[in-house]
């Protein structure tokens, strides 16, 4: 039973971290240009931006 005292907060905490990450990503425009991000990997960067 005492295991639950640790495991439940850990499970909830991990879920909450995931949720926070998603919110962060959304606020910072990570989903604004999904196709573009997939294509940009192919650009040779001669000069670093």
């Amino acid at each position: 039973m005492t295991g639950l005292a640790f495991l439940i907060p850990i499970a909830l905490g991990m879920g909450a971290v995931g949720l926070a990450c998603f919110f962060w990503a959304m606020r910072h425009g990570q989903f604004d240009d999904l196709d573009g991000a997939a294509n940009r990997i192919l650009i040779d960067e001669e000069d670093d931006e």
Partner: protein, 715 residues
């Protein structure tokens, strides 16, 4: 790395160019970008320009945001993009901000509901698999702790819509959903406090999660497709140089122009008002109004319309109609009125909800009263009534329509057709007659050169010259040459002389692209390299697959009619070629009239057209499609936009729309069939939270799987 800069850019987007002191942001729609190479080319090409600080491409939206110094005009940036090989149009600051905010809000609500659902399920499964006593109570409390904020946060879209409906004394699908969720949460809270056997937090949160999936899908579809479409009336002249009494000129904004004023319109500028030419000769590009790409000659006494572009020489125009009285404004008004009939269309999901919602309410109420009369006590009766509410609001119902429509529209996007929203797909499915505009719709809409007889060297010089000009013939020439993969030669000292053409020097040889000496019948221009002269003739060719597409439509049961503003002879020839009925020299109001008549005769007409003169007809038709080269207004008015040189997407759209509706009906049948099975169980009081959870997720999965079959529909 770019994130910080982008946020700052977005924050500044609201500032008008005139007010900003140093740096301003401009946005352009660049439909032609296709690959990583294009992104790099545009971003580097723009960044090299003096005065440009940064350029950032948004590939999904086919947009580029440029941050530059104030002195740099939008036209120069568009010119630079054209040199790089991309057609571009200035876009409004952010016309989609509202829609965007809505879908973001839905996504956030969905994420929260997903988080809540998973954690509550974790706890619920322990309870179902036998946790008892203190553990069960603890788990119920934990569930309550998670569920309450989740319901408050994620339920808002439903609660506010339900409240809105109730305020107008109506009921929609959100009313039973809201009541079900709120009652289930309230009752579960009571159960938790009194140490009861069952809590329904999982059911309530799961219901929200699945329904939000449907809503978010719906919103994503709307946003993605609208992002590709440009701004309204962007190309109409915003101001004009007006000649005063002593001959001095001053700039006056378009809305302040008055009848009788004389405006001086230099080559390359758009007319800001309707009027009569009083001095000067020129040719004008009327394509925005008529969709007709051929330059139109004007001389003293000719009428010109706002929105047309002056191509050759400066002209003085006496204004006969300004602002709200111009032909362009008249068309906008016609379009507004025509669009109203379409806004009365009721989407299939809403039609279903209108029948369904009252049934759900009465069933739940009957269950409660029935069990009370049977002497079950208010607590048990309430539990059963809630079970009925939850079971009869199947997520399958909320997912049935959007899941099918999103899958179908994604499949269509891959084939070059953007459908604006779900209601457009529904309307496209029941059209039974097709009306086509000729120029720009059945034809490519651009003068295309006949390039046989030009060697590669001549081609590269021609491209070098043509890309410097915005004359329709030059544009057509440049497009065709680029399609052949020709690289432009370096041409020095390029000059464009109105009414004559382009001259320049290439490797110390004089080169020119000019109007032919003789006024020849067909559209042509002359390429001069040193002493060699070659004539390039132009024509506006039919789209290659126009005939097949019309035949395809006939197979689908759609007769085609050509409805054109063009001359009788030209239209009749095309109609004979395709073997269809035709009407020539039809005005915008005439097109609406014909559509209304067809509608009264019980038809559901589909309009396919591109010119501004088709705008009202596009808005009035039951469903409409415009090519990607159409005027902005037409793209705005149409339900769908197809990209590329082929007409095939038009027939494809109708076919896919029909199979989408078939899938939607199957989904509905399934959702209702499931209810017929589950409702008696719920009424009998045999639905525990476990059964509700399994039934809900099971039916949703089946509906989604069925909808995914559409992803192959466009092949």
């Amino acid at each position: 790395m770019e994130v910080g800069k982008r946020v700052a850019m977005n924050a500044r987007a609201g500032i008008l160019p005139d007010q900003a002191i140093e740096l301003v942001d401009s946005r352009f729609t660049v439909p032609g970008m296709r690959c990583a190479g294009c992104i790099a080319k545009i971003e580097r090409g723009l960044a090299e320009m003096p005065g440009v600080e940064a350029a950032r491409v948004n590939f999904s939206a086919k947009r580029v945001a440029v941050r530059h110094e104030g002195f740099l005009a939008e036209d120069e940036l568009v010119g630079r993009l054209r040199q790089l090989g991309f057609e571009a149009q200035p876009a409004m600051a952010n016309p989609l901000a509202q829609d965007d905010a809505d879908s973001r809000m839905l996504l956030r609500a969905l994420a929260v509901a997903g988080f809540g659902m998973m954690n509550i399920m974790l706890l619920s499964i322990s309870v179902w698999s036998g946790a008892g006593g203190v553990t069960k109570d603890l788990f119920h409390w934990l569930s309550a702790l998670i569920a309450l904020p989740v319901v408050v946060y994620s339920g808002r879209p439903f609660f506010s819509s339900a409240l809105m409906a109730l305020r107008y004394r109506r009921t929609n699908m959100d009313v039973p959903i809201s009541i079900g969720v709120l009652l289930a949460t309230g009752l579960s809270l009571y159960e938790t406090m009194t140490g009861g056997e069952h809590a329904y937090f999982d059911g309530a949160v799961m219901l929200l999660f699945f329904l939000l999936c449907g809503r978010a899908l719906d919103a994503t579809m709307r946003n993605r497709t609208r992002a590709g479409i440009g701004a309204l009336l962007g190309r109409m002249g915003k101001s004009a140089q007006v000649v005063g009494e002593e001959g001095q000129t001053s700039r006056i904004a378009a809305e302040d122009l008055e009848t009788g004023m004389i405006m001086l319109v230099p080559a390359g500028e758009a007319f800001a008002a309707d009027g009569t030419v009083i001095s000067g000769d020129s040719t004008i590009d009327n394509s925005m109004l008529t969709g007709e790409s051929r330059p139109f000659p004007v001389t003293v006494g000719s009428e010109v319309h706002a929105g047309a572009i002056n191509l050759l020489g400066p002209v003085r125009v006496e204004i006969t109609a300004s602002a709200g009285d111009t032909a362009i404004a008249e068309i906008a008004r016609l379009m507004d009125e025509a669009g109203q009939s379409r806004s009365r269309y009721v989407r299939i999901a809403d039609r279903a909800a209108r029948l369904y919602a009252p049934a759900v309410h009465s069933l739940a109420a009957l269950a409660f009263i029935g069990w009370m009369l049977a002497g079950a006590g208010w607590h048990q009766s309430l539990v059963i009534a809630i079970a009925v509410l939850i079971i009869t609001c199947p997520c399958a119902m909320g997912l049935a329509v959007p899941a099918a429509q999103v899958t179908a529209s994604n499949a269509l996007i891959r084939r070059g057709l953007l459908v604006k929203d779900g209601s457009a797909l529904e309307r496209l499915a029941d059209v039974d007659i097709a009306l086509f505009d000729k120029t720009g719709t059945l034809t490519v809409g651009e003068p295309r050169p006949d390039l046989t007889g030009l060697d590669p060297h001549a081609k590269s010089i021609a491209l070098g010259l043509a890309q410097e000009s915005s004359h329709p013939l030059s544009k057509g020439l440049a497009t065709s040459l680029r399609l052949q993969g020709i690289r432009p030669s370096q041409i020095e000292r390029v000059e464009e002389r109105a009414g004559f053409g382009l001259t320049g020097r290439c490797e110390d040889i004089g080169v020119a692209l000019i109007r032919p000496a003789e006024g020849s019948q067909c559209l042509s221009s002359e390429l001069v390299i040193g002493s060699r002269r070659q004539t390039i003739s132009f024509a506006d060719p039919m789209r290659l697959d126009a005939r097949e597409t019309l035949a395809d439509l006939r197979l689908l049961g759609l007769e085609s009619i050509i409805l054109s503003g063009d001359r009788e002879t030209a239209v009749a020839a095309t109609a004979r070629e395709f073997g269809v009925e035709s009407h020539a020299a039809v005005t915008p109001a005439g097109k609406i009239d014909r559509i209304e008549r067809l509608k009264r005769a019980g038809h559901r007409p589909m309009m396919v057209g591109d010119g501004l003169n088709d705008g009202p007809a596009l808005a009035a038709a039951h469903a409409s499609i415009a090519p990607g080269t159409a005027s902005d207004v037409s793209q705005q008015a149409a339900d769908a936009v197809f990209i590329g040189e082929e007409l095939a997407p038009v027939a494809l759209a109708v076919r896919v729309a029909r199979s989408t509706m078939r899938i939607v009906r199957q989904n509905f049948t399934f959702a209702i069939g499931y209810n017929i099975l589950a409702v008696p169980l719920a009424l009998a009081g045999m639905v525990t939270p476990l059964i509700a959870a399994i039934a809900m997720s099971g039916s949703s999965l089946v509906v989604i799987a069925n909808s995914l079959r559409l992803s192959r529909a466009a092949k």
